[in-house]
Amino acid sequence: MAGGKEIKTKIRSVQNTQKITRAMEMVAASKMRKAQERMQAARPYAVKIRNVIAHLAAAQAEYRHPFLVDREVRRVGYIVVSTDRGLCGGLNSNLFRALVQDIDKWRREGIEQDFCVIGSKGLGFLRRFGAKVVGHATHLGDTPSVEGLIGTVKVMLDAFSEGRIDRLYLVYNDFVNSMTQRPVIEQVVPTPASAEEEVKHHWDYIYEPEAKSVLDDLLVRYIESLVYQAVVENGASEQAARMVAMKAASDNAGNLIDQLELAYNKARQAAITQELSEIVGGAAALG
């Protein structure tokens, strides 16, 4: 029976792989739901803080915070949000492709870049890419906290305040729905002007201790919340992409098993036929 045993072993091995991918698919599906909830939960804060800043920026026209002022670009910074683990389809590669295109654009103008990376996949990629990585945070887990991001954000904001970078971008996967995730490159600092919002009221806040320091604190928190939002969004994208990738893998494993079973049955049939014809041939020779 030619190869019968080998095919049987192969089938069993594919079945085991299929069990794993199916389990991963289900785990990813439930993690995705939780990540989506976190995404929703983080929204009110960002909205509230954006309102306050818009008002403050409008009311305090004479004081322009550096984070709000556009300046000539000599060097740019990126905060790249990637995943810690693989097996999530083309999620990271799509993001990196978008990033590389953006970097090329700057390179043609002779402008260099600094990077802060969240997630170990991004770190590995940028290191191979030969980029200058000035800070990173990895293994934030399934429930990232703002606390884990403060350092990374501060590295970049300090660089901006000290004039080492003139623009800061945030790169992450936007969670559109469970089937679609879109790589996004978003300018964070200088904060794109929300100046279109006309201030209709003519009052101003009382500031304690003073407007400047309050605005400073608010802006830092605002940017942190943006980065946190990006991390959570990227987390949801990761789980969604993994779910889809694992579903495809399970389906492929199923097809493979079908084909292998067919081959096995054919081999078995062939062996039986051969045996029969041998017996018949033997009997004929004797008779």
Binding site: A41, C116, G151, K154, E208, R221
Partner: protein, 141 residues
């Protein structure tokens, strides 16, 4: 019915409270402040401590915050609460940690970070303790 003001307490990670209140007491940086409906617009920083919300009807509820900001408008009060311990040295330390891990350099820089962390933790612990004590007093014996 007494006048009320809408209160939102949010942190970067979740919404903590949203509803009406007769009064809000918050630990502002320059001292505790009490806010009644129609308070003048105000923005200030918060220390670690408890935000006390008096619901319509006089019932009081306390929320612990580890710092943040409060924004007051005549009919809306927004507390932007921090979830993390914040202090200048600590932020500096976090930035340092991010840089160092990027450089994979393991220079021994723990001492001053530890002190700042300890001080911030102490402030937080004291505030938590106070919130607990207040809760305990309120419970019927």
């Amino acid at each position: 019915m007494a006048m009320t003001v809408h209160v939102d307490i949010v942190s970067a990670e979740s919404e903590i409270f949203s509803g009406l209140a007769e009064m809000v007491v918050a630990p502002a940086e320059l001292g505790d402040i009490g806010i009644m409906p129609r308070h003048a617009p105000l923005v200030t920083k918060l220390r670690p401590g408890e935000v006390r919300v008096t619901h319509p009807g006089g019932e009081e509820e306390a929320f612990y915050v580890s710092g943040g900001m409060i924004e007051v408008q005549p009919h809306v009060v927004t507390v932007l609460s921090d979830t993390a311990l914040r202090a200048h040295d600590l932020d500096e330390a976090a930035a340092m940690a991010a840089k160092e891990s990027a450089e994979r350099a393991l220079a021994d820089r723990q001492a001053d970070i530890d002190e700042a962390a300890a001080r911030a933790q102490l402030a937080q612990a004291v505030a938590q303790l106070q919130a607990l004590q207040r809760l305990r007093r309120k419970l019927p014996r």
